[in-house]
Subunit: 193 residues, 2 copies
């Protein structure tokens, strides 16, 4: 009986942060840059979008956001966001689309005790243009399903806040997942992995 | 015997991401903006620094970094970093100091199942100037102790990479930790909390 209770406690603790602590079994080899990058993006649920803040002297302004590139296990590599102009990121992007989106493998739980800045704990920055997705397009439908399946509470967020779907059109990929500097990886290789 | 093994498994799982899953007991009231912000910064071990990337058309470039604002429980609110110009962030900052540093409460484990973009899961962005700390100053000594106590492996990172201590001189604080938009909080209130 005590064993069962402890086992239950274990399982609960494993998801106490609102997501599963992933095993590293599905982690691609660091040498396979395209698949590794797609794995890292599809396993992540949040990151930091940086935009240019005209109200702060043109400073680069990072902001925590949730995202999704597709239903679990079916991501296409393009990050979609659910943003309101009540938050500075969306309003900045409407003035200047230049932006980047940054993720750490540390947040998905497969770095073990390795430091988040150690190159073997992967990180990726996708640089590009942050754009509104036409709300009546089939892409918006895909993106909404992608977002709501990974972030169920989004569907109940206040209608009055006018959340809109945004996407990052990727121009450049910076990924470090091992020693020796960023992995060479084109946007085309990434999207077709 | 099985109980003991399961208990051990529980404890191991609780720290499997290289840090403790914090209890929320020490979490200040969201109304107490200054103490909340200082708590969030001092409990965190990594975040995203954004700088201006001149090699990417002036795009805002976010990068995952480790940091420390002091020894555990003794932070002063100023984030210190251990960076090498082999990484683009440090070299960008030497050309243009404008930058921001962004943290999510989600990464310290006290948001439960709340979505990372939900305003009750706190986030903070410190905007300012990213500057090298004079390696011979007492501030550098303080910062190195702060960094190495929270990131023990840093002291063994390759000397040939010429890691230097950087700090963020904070000009502006953006924090959301509840409904109703960003909390009013001056840099002076934050630093003297």
């Amino acid at each position: 009986m005590i064993s069962v209770m402890l086992l239950f406690l274990c399982l609960f603790q494993g998801s106490v942060q609102g997501r599963y602590l992933l095993s590293s079994k599905s982690r691609p080899s660091p040498d396979d840059a395209a698949h590794f990058a797609r794995w890292l993006v599809s396993q992540s649920s949040w990151g930091v979008i940086s935009t240019i803040a005209s109200n702060l002297g043109g400073a680069p302004f990072g902001n925590v956001v949730s995202f999704s590139d597709g239903k679990p296990g079916k991501g296409k590599g393009i990050p979609y966001f659910y943003l309101t102009t009540l938050d500075p990121t969306a309003s900045s992007a409407l003035k200047d689309q230049r932006s980047s989106f940054t993720l750490s493998e540390y947040s998905i739980g497969t770095c073990g005790k390795t430091d988040p800045e150690n190159p073997t704990c992967a990180k990726i920055t996708l640089t590009g243009k942050l754009k509104v997705v036409d709300g009546k397009s089939s892409e918006a439908e895909y993106a909404q399903t992608a977002l709501f399946s990974k972030h169920p509470e989004m569907k109940d967020w206040p209608k009055s806040h006018n959340f809109q779907i945004f996407k990052l059109d990727i121009d450049d990929i910076f990924m470090i997942n091992w020693f020796g500097g960023p992995k060479p990886l084109t946007v085309d290789q990434y999207l077709h992995a």
